[in-house]
Amino acid sequence: MTYVGRTGSIRQMVFWGLASLVLYLAVFMNQQAVTDYFTRGGLYAVPVIVTALVFSFVHGAFANYLIEVIGFKPLSKGGPLK
């Protein structure tokens, strides 16, 4: 990873990490209300699925950049994957 690439990855990691932290805090600081609403069944299944997808995008992006910063970039048979 070049120096610029690494710096870019660190910036992205911090951004998505903070976004993920905010989302987790929002859920767990209101866990009683969240559990009450999300377990009502019926159409309340929609927020369950949307929440899982939003977290997978935000936290998934954080995890992706964290892995890059640690130094595990995908390889092709001939070297790093483009």
């Binding site: 969240v34 999300f38 069944g41 019926g42 369950v48 699925i49 899982a52 892995i67 130094g71 092709s76």
Partner: protein
Amino acid sequence: MTGGRAVWMGRLLPATAAIVLVSIPGVCEAAGEMLGEKDVARHFVELNAASVFFLSVLGFLGGLISGFIGSGGAFVLTPGMMSLGVPAAVAVASNMCHKFPKALVGAYKRYRYGQVDIRLGLIMAASATVGVQIGIKIQKIIFAKWGAAGSNLYVSLAFVSILTVLGIYILLDARRAMRARAEDTSSNLAERIKKLNIPPMVHFKRANTRVSLWFTVPVGLGTGMLAATIAVGGFIGVPGMIYVLGVPAMMASATELVIAFVMGLTGTINWAMGGFVDIRMVLLILAGSLFGVQLGAVGTTYVKEYMIKVVMSTIMLIVSVSRGFSIPVYLQQLGTLEMAPKTVVLLKNISFLTMCAALALGGVIILGSMWKKKRELRDSEEIRAQQVTLRG
């Protein structure tokens, strides 16, 4: 758009979607164990620091294995949640709900590496949803005749017999590739099947294989039936794709993530409509598993292809041993074996810990292989740099 692709988009894709939608009520029941009336309780536990840590670590290891071999992380999560006092139905529902976003992220990542055949994944997923229905029917017959203990005994016997036979076969096959110092082996059965021209033949472009639908669908059905029985359909789906359809191990394990996504999403819809998903536990598992699944996906680019078989067979064999420990427990519940209550608890604990050990060992093999490759790359780069300096 080419003619073949137009036919695919116009007819096969809607047909796949219809089969999946019709099968939703069945997919949600693919729990691995039959849930009795007392298990279907909606009770949500208090989460403390220890359970938060436990779920995140379990999620990470499960994700790592799934990202690498396509499946296999989920089998320990349901018992893991139940060990925290979570009712079985909530544990199964929450496990399902964590599965589809994890599989989505893993499948996307591996698609970018050119390892996913979406057409194969969708056909497999559609036939797997039908397979789940068949599996559940069988489970229900056994449940009606012998009750929960009989059903669980059937699940354990299926676990032990299928995983032992397949696990040994795959391990020996991986050893063959290792000894030949090859990337991987090819399957003689798959080569013979490819030559059978029974219409409709389907061309899987990414997987670079052309197989009759008459062979593809049964592999999907088997995947669904196993998912309904032991909750890990991938343990038959991935070997089926490798040894029957002739798909490379790398591609089969990645395509399995598409199947996991479809089945996880359809299962989640139904469980969430019943109000059984504990979103807090889902998010805690995802905190670890979204990291693990991507690391596992990256890991596939660091290893030789046969390593997927090594990890898969190792986990299968340890899990079958783990399940073997619970067989006497179910025999005792059926009244065919007498055992002290303390022994029952001990066997249950050994079974669960062995499952955790399977997950941990799989994680160690994957991370160890990645670390070794990374060190080799660093060393070769250092040598190259030294040579350049000497020349200069």
